[in-house]
């Protein structure tokens, strides 16, 4: 997968990622990427079989990046509740700061991406698993079984995702302050699982 000389490949990924965030997936074309990278459109095909393959690489990188961010918060001396809150906030920040990235990671329907090997989406699970593990560390009886923790972890991710998605799509009532919305969203998530509470009031 790695080319002999990786620098051009790297540039293509970096630039197309930025363009993705700035202009949206359907608006970027191989031509435009090549132009910004400073190579010919043909050259992209040396490193990526086609546009889809480039997209797949971006998705993978996205999941990787998010996992790096979240797993860095997983200090052993942190309370599980605190971990969960930190995960939530970091997840939200990631989604808001990389909206188009986020779109291809979580909103792209597999049907629209048939060529993408489904199993790769499982990488996303690693992120959900962080939530699951923290939930199991809680002494909550509802979370004792791994099945329950998994369900709740998926629900948490869904809640987070819903917030990011509506914010990015501009569908949150404009009279609601962004900050308060996020705080309430996180508070709701934590409360939802039972005894969790926000670590501080804002």
């Amino acid at each position: 997968m790695e080319p002999v000389n990786g620098s051009l490949r790297r540039s293509i990924l970096d630039i197309s990622r930025k363009m993705l965030v700035d202009e949206g997936f359907n608006r970027i074309s191989m031509r435009k990427i090549a132009q910004k990278v400073g190579c010919s459109a043909t050259s992209i095909y040396l490193y990526f079989k086609n546009k889809d393959a480039l997209l797949h690489s971006l998705i993978e990188e996205g999941f990787e990046k998010l996992y790096e961010i979240l797993s860095a918060l997983n200090h052993p001396d942190k309370s599980p509740a605190r971990k969960i809150e930190d995960y939530c906030r970091a997840f939200i920040n990631f989604g808001l700061n990389n909206p188009e990235y986020y779109e291809i990671m979580f909103q792209l329907h597999p049907k629209h991406m048939e060529r993408y090997p489904v199993e790769k989406f499982r990488r996303a699970r690693r992120n959900t698993n962080l939530f699951m593990n923290a939930l199991q560390e809680l002494n909550d009886e509802r979370m004792k079984s791994p099945e329950d923790a998994r369900i709740w972890a998926n629900v948490f991710v869904a809640n987070i995702h819903g917030g990011i998605s509506l914010l990015n799509a501009g569908r949150v009532d404009s009279r609601v302050e962004r900050e308060k919305f996020i705080d309430t969203l996180v508070a709701g998530i934590l409360a939802g699982s039972g005894e969790l509470k926000l670590s501080h009031q804002t």
Copy 2:
């Protein structure tokens, strides 16, 4: 579903709505719609000024339909908690049963739809307002101010939306039962706002 006679406009709406979910907004073309409808591409322009106008009509229909469903649940003799739960479940059902509508209603970024009059999205508020009103009926001190109720209503919608979105996108862990996921999602939402509880255990 066939154009047969008269309502070609209706056929165009129905078919393009269905195509939306199968192929995504940017992948459907006027030609393809026409082909499936069984008319010429030109004919679409007899009923819709352009592609955007067609999409706008679909969005409007979606909001209208959802509001019809939710507002029908707003019986005066129902407890506010029960109302909220009913709203949640009906909302989720709508999203899962009409993924085509859902995608354009909640996932389409305004940036990609610049010509859509933003004010029309305010129709969506009517749905959020149903939640808000029910929340204010609760004797929860956190919901006393309309501002707080509005925030929570938006958070609820975000939570619901996140669940629908991940389910439709096939991003919920396949080991998690769909039913349980939905129940937990709703339970989490209700618990999130404080004293609310599921009306029945599953």
Copy 3:
């Protein structure tokens, strides 16, 4: 040629003539004409076989109109030199005030208008003939034969046409005052045929 009820036909001609001047021949469509007239596009076909036929009618009217203007200047008690100058100025005014009209009358290549019966262009000759007749009234020996007068008449029209054409196309040096250009153009024409002079200096 006249329809039973001529009013709609009249409206179509008037409006399409105005649109022609305002927007150019290729920019007007049957649809747009119909819209401005306030009838259906189909209705235009009741009075004109097709778009070309409508254009032909406009051309005919143009020649007719120009002839009306020019022939009105042909008073018997006017000197031939004065007649010629009056013709020139009236011709120029017509061309400048009806630029698009003018274009279809004088610039439209027969090749592009194959369906237009060539003989109809002979109507335009009536205008040239006014010049020819006036030239023959002069006691200029060079104009004695009708052949010579005809040549000079055609040259005069060409000179006038050249001025109108360049002015309308914005191809006259912008540092040259429009008024002076026209005066010099007319002076040149009159001098060109020998002893003619401008009736007044400006």
Copy 4:
């Protein structure tokens, strides 16, 4: 004329120039050009940004070509009167022999060509300036000021243009011999400016 190898750009220019006179600017399409050239419509865009840019190139080439022809006649040991007559005849020949160039150079209204940078039309001035310079070399008091010479130069060009335009459009009376018409046109121009005379009688 065939694309053969290398200069596809050249073929596109040549062929579209020829098509221009046969079919008119608005009637030629990128597709039709491509078809005649023997390449794909897309390929044209490799050499010209869009249809307008192609047209602009043609216009520029036309002005360049005409200037080459006229300026070659500007020998220092030639009398100004002779220069002017030579310019006239060469100009006319150019217009009659290259009607395709001519149409886009002098007949295309800026309104229909909004994107063409107006300043480029100033190249055409170089041609008018040749007339202007020759006129100033005359010992004609009416031409002493540069302003007057400029006006007369523009009038000369207008006269020439009118003749070419009507000839090319087939609007000169068919009973008039082409040769005589041209001779008379030139004679008229020369006489128009005062003491100029044809260098020979035909």
